[in-house]
């Protein structure tokens, strides 16, 4: 591992005493797989399997992990776009796991999502002004005209020109479309934004614009973020704390510097070592993982990582390690740490 880690004592607002905004407790989301003529459930995909974490107000929690490990499913379940199979979601002090109807509608104003593919998530037939005001119009009776000053203000905030108002999504570049998506997400002044791979489809130059924008807006609007991505360096740049997922489970959570300087879980160690370093003078020790990620339909018993883990011990095959705090603020699910 890279030991040259610079001691970057950047003075940051300490958010560890802020009020809790979101608490997720033992969350499970399973997708049924239907089969046979009767379309009976023949198996389940354990997409999110017993995940617990919390986010404080004004904080950014990054969620990383490889394709299919359940990041999006977790995000969508928290927003109640998917029904949780088990567990609890507490938002701003209120248990929202089972709220429905008008109460759910009311809570939905407080959280928004920004998606990976800005093109697919914007209705191509709608003008930008219309797209950005739509969330507001969903909640009150104001006309588009009444809302125009507010929308223009939002467009300015995300760095789009005024004339964007009368244009259509296809007239914009990928980065600009992502700005439209962000303006839309901001429209209702939400408390929590779940950004699901918001820059994965963008070029580095544009990616940096969008990342800078999200940070600025966080300060200005006092936003709390759940930031989902598979690029650990992007996540580290954006987050206060980072959670690492593997096969539906959260295997490690810590503040971003500890995750990078002192990853404890063998999977986190492999993940960090795999990131290509943009500096040819740094040659790092690489942990190459054997094999592929197993299926979440039939995950390995015990520690789900054991078939690929170089440190696996006999008990890893039968006993599932709990996510436990092993250092202040640093939690890991691995039998190596007792």
């Amino acid at each position: 591992m890279n030991t040259e880690h610079k001691n970057t004592a950047v003075l940051k607002k300490d958010k560890s005493n802020n009020e809790m905004l979101l608490e997720v407790k033992n969350l499970k989301t399973y997708y049924p797989i239907k089969g046979g003529i009767l379309r009976r459930t023949v198996a389940v995909v354990k997409a999110v399997d017993d995940v617990s974490f919390e986010i404080r107000k004004g904080e950014t929690l990054g969620l990383v992990g490889e394709s299919g490990c359940g990041k999006s499913t977790a995000g969508r379940t928290i927003l109640r776009l998917l029904e949780p199979t088990e567990g609890q979601i507490i938002f701003d002090g209120q248990d929202i796991t089972n709220v429905r109807g008008t109460s759910l509608r009311k809570i939905r104003q407080d959280f928004q999502m920004v998606f990976q593919d800005p093109y697919a998530s914007l209705n191509p037939m709608m003008m930008v002004g219309h797209l950005v005001s739509e969330p507001i119009r969903n909640y009150n009776n104001k006309s588009e005209k009444e809302l125009k000053p507010e929308v223009l203000d939002l467009l300015a905030k995300v760095g789009l020109p005024e004339d964007a108002y009368y244009k259509y999504p296809h007239e914009f570049s990928g980065g600009q479309r992502q700005r439209i998506g962000i303006a839309r997400a901001l429209a209702l002044r939400p408390k929590l934004i779940i950004a699901d791979e918001p820059v994965s489809a963008l070029d580095v130059s544009v990616q940096s614009q969008v990342l800078n924008l999200l940070k600025e807006l966080q300060d200005e609007f006092d936003l709390t973020f759940l930031f989902i991505a598979h690029d650990l360096s992007v996540v580290k740049h954006m987050s206060d704390r980072i959670g690492v997922m593997y096969l539906g489970g959260l295997v490690e959570v810590a503040d971003k510097d500890s995750i990078y300087a002192e990853p404890l879980h063998p999977y986190t160690q492999a993940l960090i070592s795999a990131i290509p370093e943009p500096d040819p003078r740094k040659k790092k020790e690489r942990i190459i993982l054997e094999g592929d990620v197993p299926s979440p339909i039939d995950p390995p018993k015990g520690c789900t990582f054991h078939p690929r883990c170089a440190h696996a011990m006999p008990e890893c095959q039968s006993v599932k390690p709990e996510l436990r705090e092993v250092k202040p603020g640093h939690r890991v699910a691995c039998h190596l740490y007792k």
Binding site: S208, P276, P280, R281, L289, D292
Partner: protein
Amino acid sequence: MSAKSHLHNDTPLLEVKNLETAFSIDGTYYNAVDNVSFRVKPRQIVGIVGESGCGKSVMSLSVMQLLPKGIGKIRNGEILFDGVHLENMTDSEINKIRGKDIAMIFQEPMTSLNPVFSIGFQLQEVLFNHMKISKKEARLKSIALLKSVGISRPEKIVDEYPHQLSGGMRQRVMIAIAIACQPKLLIADEPTTALDVTVQAQILELLKEIQEVNDMSVILITHDLGVVAEMCDEVIVMYAGKIAERTDVDSLFHNPKHPYTQLLMGAIPKMDEEVETLSTIKGIVPSLKNMPKTGCKFAARCPKAMPECLTITPQLAENEEGHEVACLLYETSRPKTEVNA
């Protein structure tokens, strides 16, 4: 094909001279690759980087003579592979080289593997095209190739179909097909972009190993500067169809000269550095139709642009030994002081 050129390390395996490739849009041709020259030496790994739409893929398709017929054409320039001109070859002539001496792998292994044929069939097809071997030998060689790219249970996988494999395994199969005839040059266009980092690490390690064992040259196209730093000997930075900078990998990262390269470097978040704001490049790569006709094509986005950048086209020229840059800040008639301003 002459073998003697390999005796001299400096003789390029591939030499591209003043290449211009154009696409027809509404009846008019626009250059997507605009007067590009570079060389690839034997055993060298040359990276090509740049934002989306800057001409990386079009350049590699030009070398492979795979431009879409009737839409794209090479307007000008020469492509010399092992001393032989490729740019005017007939289909049957180029077919003897493509897949044998020059092979290519693409970003999305699912679209480049045929879903209706087994893995073994697709491997054997390449072998039959370029070698005189029996069916039985071809099958055995296919299994050996799958094994050599790190696929476990190759005897079983050889009879499976693309959809039965994971993304990483499909990319391994693509590599197996590409190296089946031991090509001298492999062009890899974003070979790991669709893969997770841990799988990417496996594939890059594999590519490097094959390159060393087979004495192969590689052109590696990617937008990931981390991948470049790890894999390449030399790097070409492209912008709007032109080469902005070309140098060895160490100077690219530690002494980038072109403003575009400098900005690209500052735009990536780095694991071991904390910065509040990343550098950005305003605007976007112009489309072919909106390409500026005169001056530096980067001028509209360049923070160091000077009035003459709008009228004078910078030429790619050696600034330090082995380090070429196309920017008016470095053209010799100018005072050096401006450079680090």
